[in-house]
Symmetry: C2
Subunit: 341 residues, 2 copies
């Protein structure tokens, strides 16, 4: 019998950030595809679109008018999933039917006044303005005493449920810590407890030694395909310094972070020659006033495309009932991304 | 301040089967939709399609010919994500980079020789043949000593990554218990330990008393929208008798199970007047030879559609980084489904 080879044989990989596993089937990329194809969006956009509710000076659904903003713009989501005025309360029956009301604030962040750009198209200096706003928002929302977690994210592309191509992201800030950051809290704090170093710091040391999954790095950040990546071209940006949240980033780090975001997003756009769809999000420490010495700032990018601009990875039956599954290996994905830098 | 109302205010609901939460935003269904629309597949299919690799007598990609099967047909997936011959082995670096080889068997089950049917269109007597085959396969695969979990599932519809409309499902049987059934094992066994009754038995008692989320029932099964449903029209079929796996179903239960599958799938097809896409799957006890007194057989249906045949729910940025979020309440979804019975 041949010996086990990560590049050849089906295997499971462990995600130390969540404590969960992903099934990897390297041999399976040879499978023919006869299923659904996505539309390629022919992305001829105007710099200003009068029908866009995010463009400067336009009026939104609720009648409010956007200012003539020169760089970034943040406002409360007109259809937020969370609301500040939600009454506190809970519902319970027999211990098995349990609900708790949830207060929160949902905001939209326009990355640029230009309707026709994406983060990848923007100058690093302009991405830096987005980073500054993320920092300010995390600190502002996190300081409210009913806000215990601030989720900053972006859905890019119609295939990721984004209903407006104007470059923008969102913030959902809420009174409890959601499931995914709660898993990462548990795993990182447990690791720190034992090792007195952050899990991602030790992981970064291993990856920088090994190099096969690293895509790019600068003085303060590394972008890589994590060993446990679920999405075909999933990446993670990890800060070299171990700090808990974006509020602690200094000027040089904010510049370096802007640079690496530019690098990741432009590289993505070269994979299939289209503006690459993804959901991205920052994971960082909760804002509940507790100490989180193990938390280590990072940003995830989850892009859905697998084989081409029109064929995505479906996370369906087995993935929903069992656990995530991927075909190409993270090492093969990293090789490809690195070659497109 | 008004009092907390499940039908009005944003809240979190607890899923006792997984120990995780879902965010519910009842007020949010009023939000306008300007995003991606799916294609409605005009589903004019022939009873036999000579280009279909699942139709009787046709030749598959690997050169094998399908028999002229009269009812169901099972065969090893020609592009299985798991393989029986995988060498045993593992890979580890610094405790944070960890992989283990995974052996398994992937099978495809044709539900019918007819290319133009779905489970919803089939006679109950023919669905019963599918149930018989699931039972036989669970017992057969589960008896192999390297198989510790047997995942039976179906991806229905192109939107769920199904690449061939011929009615079929899959089985992925493998040497470890995947993440989702592992969570359900932990939760159900812990509950049984304390209460000496199964979690789902007690839950069923509450739901049959309350009735607002129950869609249909017969002598042996109940179909309902779980209190913690994530997908807009998610349902669960739960057996009234507490047993661990499909191998333990008796004749009357297999008939009743076929009936309730017919009822759920035909009701789904009435929601938006299209053949309703979904991923479904059976959760049951592992086949590792251990005793699982708490495990209670059930089947999940996760349909992606939200507002119409062309607008689905996107599980994207917040859902990937935080936790699942839904707009319409499970009670409203159950009302609608019940009205379409
Ligand atoms: O094997 P199939 O049906 O071609 O593939 C489909 O189901 C699998 C199991 O849920 C998924 O991994 C694939 O992404 C999906 O396209
Ligand atoms: O608020 P949006 O951008 O309209 O909505 C989008 O992102 C949300 C957060 O990930 C999701 O809940 C929605 O399903 C998606 O369409």
């Amino acid at each position: 019998m041949p010996t086990f080879d990560l590049a050849e044989h089906p295997h499971r990989r462990y995600n130390p950030l969540t404590g969960e596993w992903v099934l990897v089937s390297p041999h399976r990329s040879k499978r023919p595809w006869q299923g659904q194809q996505e539309e390629t969006v022919c992305d001829e956009r105007l710099a200003y679109d009068e029908t866009c509710y995010l463009c400067p000076t336009n009026t939104r659904a609720n009648g409010e008018q956007n200012p003539d903003y020169p760089a970034t713009y943040v406002f409360d989501n007109d259809f937020g999933a969370l609301q500040e005025a939600t009454p506190v309360g809970s519902f319970e029956k027999g211990g098995l039917i349990r609900a708790e009301s949830e207060r929160g604030i949902c905001r939209v962040i326009c990355f640029s006044p230009r309707h026709d750009l994406t983060l990848a198209d923007m100058e690093v200096a302009d991405i830096r303005k987005v980073v500054d706003l993320w920092q300010q928002q995390y600190l502002e929302l996190g300081s409210l005493d009913f806000i215990r977690y601030v989720q900053i994210f972006e859905n890019k592309g119609a295939i990721m449920g984004c209903s407006n191509p104007h470059p923008h992201g969102q913030i959902w800030a809420q009174s409890t810590v959601p499931v995914e950051p709660a898993k990462e809290t548990k795993q990182q704090e447990a690791y720190f407890e034992v090792n007195r170093r952050s899990l991602l710091q030790d992981y970064l040391t291993l990856e920088l030694e090994e190099k096969s999954r690293v895509i790019s790095e600068n003085d303060h950040f590394v972008a890589l395909v994590p060993f446990w990546a679920v999405w075909p071209f999933e990446t993670i940006i990890i800060s070299k310094r171990h700090f808990q949240h974006i509020g602690q980033m200094d000027e040089a780090e904010k510049d370096a972070y802007s640079h690496i975001i530019k690098s990741v997003t432009t590289t993505y756009d070269r994979v299939f020659g289209v503006s690459f769809p993804y959901s991205s999000g920052i994971h960082q420490s909760p804002t509940d006033g507790q100490d989180y010495p193990g938390w280590h700032f990072h940003m995830h990018f989850y892009p859905p495309l697998l084989r081409s601009a029109t064929v995505k990875k479906f996370m369906v039956g087995y993935e929903m009932m069992g656990n995530p599954q991927r075909d190409i290996t993270p090492e093969a994905a990293a090789d490809l991304l690195r070659s497109l830098l």
